[in-house]
Symmetry: D3
Subunit: 340 residues, 6 copies
């Protein structure tokens, strides 16, 4: 059993400590991207994983390849070429000061990807699960074409397909997003999203949730899920992550799974945030792990939520935790006591 993801991997450049862009004289670097993060997380859980992407054939690209290998991600299907590595600059927020991201990913390698560069047979060998995010189809026409190809092939092979809606307003407007994602979601079995995205992409809204002041209306989420499921009846499971940002330093985090008319609620965690980039991807990976291991729906929502809770304590995009660590937290020990 193997999982496949497809998307871009970028270099993150982040001013050291709490320095602002206008103060920074040195940057920490990480590699990450929605589907790469899911791949890394699953690899850390011991799941065989293939990642399809295109990475420039220079020393920066070599560094990126090493990071993937280091995390046990199969890079056999990674295409080398294109002109530049996608970048994003991230200023870490703290307290009332928000994190800021400046994307610099235009004309990056993945946008030159062509169907002919891919060996579909080899790529899909042993694949039972395919995952992508709403970022990937927004990158370029080339990428979208390849994604469609993969979805068709996956469907043909009865591969389970999940999508993380992940709307990025810097990549496309909500109308285009709605149109494209509505088409792509027809292929999907599982959707992961949050309220803000559902509203922005599908215009589905619910009364009383307020993203900014952090109050959350869980009933509202169930309503959204129902509406989505009506729209996309092929979806067997819809998961919503619920972030309540007290500040950039303190977040509350939980999730809901809606499946076959039933709601499953996770515990809520109060988190001291180290690095929240990739928390949603960690959630997807937790979900995929649970599903491919036939966890119960309740265990699934707890495992995925605990996995993504732990991501907030890890520097970098990849969720560097083991199944044991997630289970310990999911089973209730969030005390953080020293383990000797």
């Amino acid at each position: 059993m193997s999982v496949l993801t497809f998307g871009e991997i970028m270099m993150r450049l982040q001013p050291k400590g709490f320095a602002r862009f206008t103060q920074a004289a040195s940057y920490d670097s990480y590699f990450g991207g929605g589907e790469a993060n899911v791949a890394a997380s699953l690899a850390n859980f011991g799941v065989p994983i293939k990642f399809l992407t295109k990475i420039p054939d220079n020393f920066l690209g070599d560094g990126c390849m090493r990071e993937l290998k280091k995390h046990n991600i199969s890079v056999d299907n990674v295409i080398r070429g294109g002109e530049r590595l996608g970048l994003y600059f991230c200023e870490r927020g703290v307290s009332q000061r928000a994190s800021k991201i400046i994307y610099d990913r235009k004309n990056s390698a993945i946008n030159t990807i062509q169907a002919e560069e891919i060996d579909l047979e080899n790529l899909f060998e042993s694949i039972k699960y395919f995952h992508f995010t709403g970022i990937t189809p927004a990158l370029s026409g080339n990428v979208l074409k390849v994604l469609e190809l993969l979805l068709k092939e996956a469907k043909r092979r009865d591969v389970i397909i999940s999508c993380d809606l992940n709307y990025r307003k810097s990549l496309w407007d909500s109308n285009t997003a709605k149109e494209t994602m509505s088409y792509l979601l027809k292929y999907c079995d599982i959707l992961i999203s949050n309220e803000e995205e559902c509203q922005k992409v599908f215009g589905i809204e619910v009364q009383s949730t307020n993203v900014i002041n952090g109050t959350i209306n869980t009933n509202g989420y169930v309503e959204i899920a129902k509406k989505l499921n009506k729209k996309f009846s092929n979806l067997k499971l819809i998961a919503f992550t619920l972030r309540s940002s007290i500040s950039a330093s303190v977040n509350r985090w939980s999730s809901i799974i809606y499946s076959e008319g039933i709601n499953y609620y996770s515990k809520q965690y109060e988190i001291n945030v180290v690095d929240r980039i990739g928390a949603g991807d960690a959630y997807c990976a937790g979900l995929i792990y649970s599903l491919t291991n036939n966890f119960s729906r309740q265990d699934t929502v707890e495992f995925a939520t605990a996995a993504s809770c732990l991501k907030h304590s890890i520097e970098g995009d990849f969720n560097n935790v083991t199944v044991d660590e997630v289970l310990t937290l999911a089973h209730g020990d969030g005390s953080g006591r020293v383990q000797r």
Copy 2:
């Protein structure tokens, strides 16, 4: 329209991370000082600003000059000379351990300043606002004389004058402070202070506020403001910052403005402290910005409080934030959500 401030700028030397002085093997360095901080903050808000000070003519002084220029502060009136740069060593506190400051500012350059070194005409050109703190008159006789000269000239030119009381017991005793500040406040239109200082300098006290256990009696502040305004009827606006220290890591922060018999209360923020040095100066700058932009009194108290709230999240003495960032927080988004 231009703003003028006058005071000392020092080098701060701070052990890296949470190291104590007795553990430190390396120090981060920043430049700062009450009026320099106000200048930097206003410059970040886009306000034309002149800073009058004296800086030694050596390479350390050159570094200091660069920092001012970098922050868009006009240094045309900075006098170069004197023997040494004022220093202060700052050990960052955390949790129940308080920050510790060791001043080493005696015989620093500014104390050799002379009226003759200043080109008043050039200095006051286009100036509509002058700000100083209670630290400056306490530095030395030379400095006090220059300050008086500036106040008189400002008065002559109908420049608005604000003073941040800022009592430093290491520089003078409360009796001398009371005498001098009472005299200097006669020139002022605006006073910024907090309860502790009002008590120490003017002996004005109010029953139930307790600095150490962090409970705050807002009514008491209004009483103090009234008493002060009776004493200094020239004051058109009195502002109090209200800090409630849960610990060195967690502070609550709000403020009150008293103006023409009416009180304006800001929101209160719960802050994860990165660096609280300069928060009071960030408040003054927020106040000056609001006033010179004719904000309403309520918008003023919110803008100044939000600006100083954000300062706690910034390393160094200077409040490195934009007007947009302050407005976003003042208007209610303190969620710290990632801005992409």
Copy 3:
């Protein structure tokens, strides 16, 4: 008046920042160990202190010696020799992710210690107090023999003896621990422990305390103390530290002293954890300082708790604080306000 402690001192290697072992490319190093930590803390309080241990005669050992000297610990009785310095690797936890410790202390220098290497007369000169932890007898037969020798000599000289139970499951099983510690506790006047250890070593349990979810039943502690005192009637004072781990980042901390049938409760602190390694040792040192300075029982429980509260804000194993700082906190100022 001098205090003596005996035990191992190790090098701690800790990934920088919040890096995990699997991410680390550099490590901060500290020296520490139960009894060394108590020694350093007492030395910081100005108490003359001797530390008996064995340290390898190589450059790493020299570094360790320097650390002891730097902290004003008498190293005249330190034996140089043996093959290797004991090590432990510590991954710092944060939020819901727990700290992880990997011990690498087998075959370390102290395990080769022999009675003949010790000059008892010189060692015990002016000693009025002896402290050890439950780690030391668990190290090896050699070490246990030397400990017994010291206990007998201490008893012969009417030295007060305290023991921190400190059960380490990686060093011995609970049966052996119970047997050995029961024997050694016969020599002791004072015992410091916590509920978890009492349960694991002596099987004494109390109903409703739950280590993991952090609720604490103080009545239960009194029961345990009574049971222990019945078992070990020689104990004149039993102290329990009470940690309630909200997460790896936030802990609540307090303590209870049971002495001659009376309970003394300390304040409880809510702590933002920088480094909790050595907090228990800081408590022991606070206790010893209070007792040797004839503090009242209530002042003792407050001083020891405040001392160990402050340890959580200090990087490294040694509690780098002064008596004045502890007293300020014990007397109620935990506001962490800047001290200028």
Copy 4:
């Protein structure tokens, strides 16, 4: 008297220490670019300097603006806009391992520059000297058009014009370079170059110099200069820098000026290289400083060579040295003895 330069300023990202791209987890960042470096160097010499460029209107661009202001470069004519900041990644070489540069400057802000964005009158006010490099015309058609506009305006105003040939094979091929540069050099009074470039751009070669094994044939340089001067009779001064790379760590450095048929040779320096990026620009700045201060030809060649020699000891693209420091070295004290 003011100097004007026009070109791109980029962010340099350089792995810390001697790490390779494939090892790097953090990067130091600097700002630099041929003409920006010349501007910074002249500003450090106290020369009033204007820099024309286009910088994106985001926080990274703000950081870049600050760096320019900090170095006392007038940014009044900097245009804000365009999509991205040009970047280059630089891996520092050492010993036999060469430094590696990966450019990522396509579609950067400067390429969107338009003549209409420039206020020529204001820009050229008080300008007596204009400098550009061969990099700028190679960037894009937009940039080339603006450069021509500036050259014509400069010519119209009798501004002295210098050009650093600076051939970059990653930006254009040698044929295009030859054609364009031949046209642009008609406007110039001064040319700075080295043998390798002369050969690559103009096909002018000389027998026995060998770049790789580091032997230098100074007579050959004179021949090249003569041939160039025949081709471009408008050139009043031609300067060649002579680098002899023993290794990435040790370089020999000197220069020749050819002017009105006479050769002027500088001393040669043996340099322990800290950072050689920008050494050529430091040379140009030294030359411009000497010329605008009417140094003799011999003093000019020594000053420019000493200035660029010192650049090798400075981290970052900008030559952070004073006129005094350059003169001391030019006059013969390269002993590096401590100056107290």
Copy 5:
């Protein structure tokens, strides 16, 4: 075609910068060991490589596994288990101060290796070349037994075998070394060594070489090679590396190959040393690469020497360079000029 190596991989802990052990407060960490270094180097050259070792099954061991994967070394045959990871502490020397190494590798995981843990069939699949060093047989009886097993199996399969003599006096005395190595060398086709080792292990000496003052007698090396070849007539190629230590910062480096009665001399490099640990292993990898690619003897000696020359410029044990980089240096460009 695949290469196999067998040996220990340790964690190196090295004080940051030029700090001495007695000054260090933080350490850089690397992974390395003779055969692991050869494996990494070959993997960087694109050679398929298997590494056999035993690594403890804890988080430190996981970090080590990641390092191997990152460098593209097949870890399918790595055995997980044993108690501890071998360590060595390395203080970096500079100028006249020598580097110091403290080994702490006793009782490390590899010493518990058993023949039964190895799947010989799988291990040797596609293997055409086997390499080991003189460190491995010195580790323990267990390790020696496994090594013998591998040598026999390799011989049985006509695998080419090379040995780097690498005498470590901390592991065994020269008599035992002589006896064991004499036996093991019977299996070998290729021997890599240097004069000092030949003397210490086999007592073969040559008159006029002086390791300490750095003069080298190349004729002497040929004599040694002849004597060795007489003793071990199975050796088809003997290579000697020639290090001349001017100081810890400056080394001269070259090599000689003796094969079938003919000597091949490499160029000599003058090296500014960044990290010389692993230079010998980089040499072996260069040799193996050349041999398996059928380079001429002269090209082989140049390639291996250039590869190991470059290693001195790379931080860490692994020679992080490409075939292209080695060829460029071997073909004569050691100028270290910037490559854009």
Copy 6:
């Protein structure tokens, strides 16, 4: 046998890496001062050492005390008090760029020292050797008075006295220096100096040595020594250190001892400079060690030179080396080969 030194100890603040003052954002800190450095060096050689100084009674002073204790220097006679710790800022030079020092030591603690604060009897107990530098008498009248007191007491007790001439033009002019030092040298048995100082203080010059271009005339040194010995016939030994600065990165270093009409020359070392501050003090310590251990004159000159050669490889003011390391170098092994 114990050695006594008296002088100031300051905090050195040095920009990290090769940053200039105008670039620095963080500083490494060290403690040092002529006589403190000699004390630390002797303590590292195992010599019992007392250091007399005055250190402010604040946390920075506590840090300084810890540094002394850590290096095994007896601090029993250190006086705590005075207002501030002396500071000096040091910008590290490299290649042709010289190191720069900015002193900020005025009004430092030692200048308030009084004879009454010293317990002469206790101070001189077991003292056989006293050392001071020409910096100490230049500090202030108070310090000079105490120094005279110590010299008289030393003389009275037949203590051997050495003086390092160490002329600092920032502290006094050469006339005052000449007058005072001529008086103080009457007490001395041993003088350490270099040519530059002899010329500046005593006007003794020799023809052909050129400090700046680095040529050294050893005959000249002998002449100076003879002249000095005529002037101060009480001197039994005169030592000159000979530094030839190729650049800030490469120095040649040797010395001459002149004693009873005979000259002893040391080897010359070519040094890659890490930190040359304190090299002269390391020489004095090497000399004192040799003399108090009755080394021959030739062994003395070699030991002192080797000790100070090694200092250049050590970061910080203190020469952190052992007697064994010095002897190894003095006996000829400067190869810097790895010691395993």
